[in-house]
C-alpha cells in the first residue's frame, strides 16, 4: 500500500512538473548597458533591458510603434495644442514602495530639461514651458508652441518617470513602476529582473528574466545551440540564421527597426558640395548587393531617411537607381571625368565594416577611389561626427522619427537648406495628422532629391528565439525587449 502511494505521488509530481509552464527566461544580447539610468545615456542596451520592463513613461510604445497610454490613463489637449493635461493612473507604486504621484512626473521632466541635465535626447523636452502638479493624479504640461509629436516624444525611454528618492543610486539600482523589479547585475555577465508582485497592470507570465551579455558572434551561436540562452535579441551572426531557420527547435524573427542605414556624405566638402557628385555617388550604389553581401539578405532598401514600415513613408528608391554609366556621366558633367579620391570612415558595426568594402568597390567602378579607415566609436565621434573630418561614412541612425536632423546645418553631414529647415519648423508645431503626413512626405522628397546622403537600407532586427517562447517583439519601434507579454507554451 505504502509503495503504491509513493508511486502515485511520484507520478503526480511528474505530472505537475510537466504541466507547469516554465516561468523564467534567459535572453542573450550583444551589448551590456554601461549603467542603468535610461535618462542619461544614449546606449540602446539600457532601454533594451529596462524600457517597459522596469521603467514606464506617461505614454508607451506598442509592438507596432503606436503610442499607447502608459502611466497616464488619459489626456486632454487644449484647442491651441499647447497645454496637455494628463490624468495619471491611481494606485501605482514605485518598486521601493513609495506612491507614484504627479510630483514624480514634475520631478522627472524637470530633471530631464534642467540646465545640468545629462539626458542624451534633451531635444525631446525643448518645447516644454512648464510642468505642474494640479493634484496628486493630474499633471499639466504647457508647451511654448504646439508640438505635433509630443505624446510620441513622451513614450521614449529617455522620458520615463523615475522615483525622486532613488535618483542618487539610479545607475546601479533602478527603481521604476514597471511589471518587473531590478534584481541583480553581475557586471560583464548578466542582469536579472523579477516579477513585480504589486504591479498596477496585468501581471506578466514570467517570474524572472535574465539578460546575458555575449558580445562574440561565435559565442552567441554556441550559447543558443547549447541552450544557455532561450532567445538572442539582435543575433549578431547573420551567416548562421539559415541553420537556425532549418532547426525546429528555434524560430528566427526578422523585423524592422528605426535604423536608417546611410552612406553619409560631407555636404560641405569639395567635391560633395556639388549635388551632381552626390547623385553620382547614390547611383553608383547597388543597394541590393550591399544588403545581400553585408547583411545576408536582411534589410529593406530605402530612398530617403524614413522608416519603410511607417505609414507616411514614400518609396523614393527610384530617385537613385543603380546605374554606373549614368553616374559616370554625371561625374564628368561635374568636372570629374577621371573621378577623385576621398575618405570612407567606418565605425565598428558589421553593417559599416562589411558594407564599406562593398561600397568602396562599387564607387571604384565610377572612378571614385576611397581610402577606408576603420574607427572605434569614440574615434568616429571625435573625427567624423564632431570634427567633420570625413568624405564618406556609414552609420545607422537608430532614433525613431529623426528626419529633423536634416534641419540642423551643424549636424555632421552639414546639410544646409533653408526650405527644409522652415518645413521642419512648421512640422514641429503642426498637429493635424493629414497635414503632418503631407509635410513629412515633402521633407522625405526634398532630402532624397537633394541626394544629401546615400540611402542604403533599413536595418533589420533578427532574433533567434526558442520555438516554445511566445510574445517576443518582432519589430523594434524603440530599442526595447518588452517582456510583459512573453510566456512559454507547454
Amino acid at each position: 500500500m505504502k509503495k503504491t502511494l509513493t508511486l502515485t505521488s511520484a507520478l503526480a509530481l511528474i505530472a505537475t512538473g510537466a504541466l507547469a509552464a516554465q516561468t523564467d527566461v534567459t535572453i542573450g544580447m550583444q551589448l551590456e548597458p554601461p549603467h542603468l539610468d535610461p535618462t542619461s545615456a544614449a546606449a540602446g542596451a539600457i532601454d533594451q533591458v529596462l524600457y517597459s520592463n522596469v521603467f514606464e513613461g506617461l505614454t508607451r510604445f506598442g509592438p507596432d510603434g503606436t503610442v499607447n497610454a502608459g502611466l497616464a490613463e488619459s489626456w486632454d489637449i487644449s484647442e491651441d495644442g499647447t497645454t496637455y493635461v494628463f490624468k495619471l493612473r491611481t494606485g501605482v507604486k514605485f518598486h521601493d514602495g513609495t506612491d507614484f504621484e504627479a510630483t514624480d512626473v514634475v520631478f522627472s521632466l524637470d530633471r530631464a530639461r534642467a540646465e545640468d541635465s545629462t539626458n542624451a535626447q534633451k531635444a525631446l523636452f525643448d518645447g516644454i514651458e512648464s510642468v505642474e502638479a494640479v493634484d496628486a493624479n493630474t499633471v499639466k504640461i504647457t508647451l511654448n508652441a504646439p508640438q505635433g509629436n509630443f505624446l510620441f516624444n513622451m513614450a521614449w525611454g529617455d522620458a520615463v518617470i523615475v522615483a525622486p528618492e532613488s535618483i542618487d543610486d539610479i545607475k546601479n539600482n533602478p527603481v521604476g513602476t514597471g511589471a518587473f523589479t531590478f534584481a541583480d547585475w553581475k557586471q560583464g555577465d548578466s542582469i536579472t529582473i523579477a516579477r513585480n508582485a504589486n504591479y498596477w497592470g496585468t501581471a506578466p507570465a514570467l517570474e524572472e528574466a535574465t539578460f546575458k551579455f555575449i558580445s562574440d558572434p561565435t559565442a552567441a551561436f554556441g550559447a543558443m545551440m547549447a541552450g544557455d540562452v532561450d532567445a538572442f535579441y539582435g543575433y549578431p551572426a547573420p551567416e548562421n540564421l539559415a541553420q537556425f531557420e532549418a532547426d525546429p527547435r528555434f524560430n528566427v524573427l526578422s523585423g524592422s527597426t528605426e535604423g536608417e542605414t546611410i552612406l553619409a556624405i560631407n555636404n560641405k566638402l569639395e567635391p560633395f558640395n556639388d549635388v551632381r557628385v552626390r547623385k553620382a555617388v547614390s547611383m553608383a550604389i547597388d543597394r541590393q548587393a550591399i544588403i545581400d553581401g553585408a547583411m545576408f539578405g536582411y534589410g529593406t532598401p530605402i530612398g530617403t531617411h524614413f522608416a519603410p514600415h511607417n505609414p507616411d513613408y514614400v518609396d523614393l528608391t527610384g530617385n537613385a537607381p543603380f546605374d554606373p554609366a549614368a553616374a559616370k556621366a554625371l561625374l564628368a558633367e561635374a568636372g570629374y571625368p577621371d573621378g577623385f579620391k576621398t575618405t570612407l570612415k567606418l565605425p565598428p558595426p558589421s553593417y559599416a565594416r562589411r558594407g564599406g568594402e562593398i561600397i568602396a568597390a562599387q564607387l571604384r567602378e565610377i572612378g571614385i577611389e576611397t581610402e577606408i579607415s576603420n574607427l572605434e566609436w569614440a574615434q568616429w565621434l571625435e573625427q567624423a561626427f564632431r570634427g567633420y573630418d570625413f568624405g564618406l561614412t556609414i552609420v545607422s541612425h537608430t532614433e525613431p522619427m529623426d528626419i529633423g536632423i536634416y534641419a540642423r546645418p551643424e549636424y555632421y553631414f552639414q546639410y544646409d537648406n533653408a526650405d527644409l529647415q522652415s518645413l521642419i519648423k512648421k512640422l514641429g508645431v503642426e498637429s493635424d495628422p493629414n497635414k503632418r503626413t503631407e509635410m513629412l512626405q515633402q521633407a522625405q522628397t526634398i532630402i532624397s532629391e537633394d541626394y544629401v546622403n546615400g540611402y542604403l537600407f533599413q536595418l533589420a532586427l533578427t532574433s533567434v528565439v526558442d520555438a516554445k517562447l511566445n510574445g517576443i517583439w518582432e519589430n523594434a519601434p524603440t530599442q526595447a525587449v518588452d517582456l510583459t507579454g512573453v510566456s512559454w507554451s507547454e
Partner: protein, 315 residues
Amino acid sequence: MLRYSLKRLGSLLISLIVASLVIFACIEVVPGDPASFMLGINAQPDTIAALRDELGLNASIYERYVSWISGMLTGDLGTSYTYRSPVTEIVAERLVISLPLAIYALTLTVLVAFPVGVLAATRQGSKTDISVMGATQLGVAIPNFWFAMLMVLVFAINLRWFSAGGFPGWDAGFFAALKALTLPAIALALPQASILARVMRSSLLDTLSEDYIRTARAKGLSKRQALWRHALRNALIPVLTIIGLQFSFLLAGAIIIENVFFLPGLGRLVFQAISQRDLIVVESVVMLLVFAVIVVNFLVDLAYAWVDPRLRSHA
C-alpha cells in the same frame, strides 16, 4: 638573502613608478571623449559639457594624475566614467574570475608539462619522446581560440556536458564555478603546457649531460635517484622563468578565451573600457596588471635564489 630581496624590492618600486607615468601619459593622448561616447549622436553640445563637468574631465592632466596616484595609494581607484561605480569594486568582481582562471590554467599546465617533459627527457630518442615532441609541436601551433570553439562544439553543443560559456558566480557553489572555468582553463593551458613541456625536456637533457650527473651515477646512484636528487632541481631555473611569464600572460592575456566563453574577466573589462573611453578603468586595470607582472617576477627571482644557492651569494 635579505640583501638580495631588498635590492629586488627596490627595482620593483622604480618599475611601478615608471609604469604609472607611462600608462597615464599613453592613455591621456588617446583621442576620444568619454562624455560624447555616452551620449551618442543626438546629444546637444551643452548636455555633453554638463556630463564632462559631472565626470571631472575638465580638471588639468596634472591634477588628474595626482588624484589618481594618491587615490591608488589609499586603495581608492576612483569612479568609472561609464559604470559610475567604484573602480575597485568593478576590478574586484572581475578578479574573482580572472585570478582563479589563471591559477587553474597554470595548475593544469604544470601538472601536464612536468611529467611529460621528464618522461620525454629520460627516454630521449624513444617513440615516447618523438610522440611527445610531435604532440607539443601541435599544441603550440593550434590557436587556442579555435581549440576553445572546438571544445564548445563537442562538449557544450553535442554532448551538453558543459555550458557554452558564462560564469554562474562563486555563490553558485565551488564546483559549479569550477566547472564553468574548466573548458576555458583547458583552452588556455594547452599551448602553455606544450611550451613548458618542451622547455622542461630540453633543460633536463642539458643537466642530465652535466659532469655532476655522471659523478653521481659513478658514486652508485641509480638513474632515477640521480634524476630526482640532482638533475631535476638544476633543470628548474629556466622552467621557473617560463612559469612566471606564463602566469602574467594568463592573467592579462586571456581576453580572447574570455570572449569565446563570454566570461566577465579582466581582459574583457579592459577591452570594453578602451572602446568606451572609460580611461580611469583602463589606467587602473593596466596598472594592476603591471603590478601583478612585477610581483610575479619578484617571486620568481626569490624562487631562483631558493633553487640555486649560488644566486644568493652573488647578489
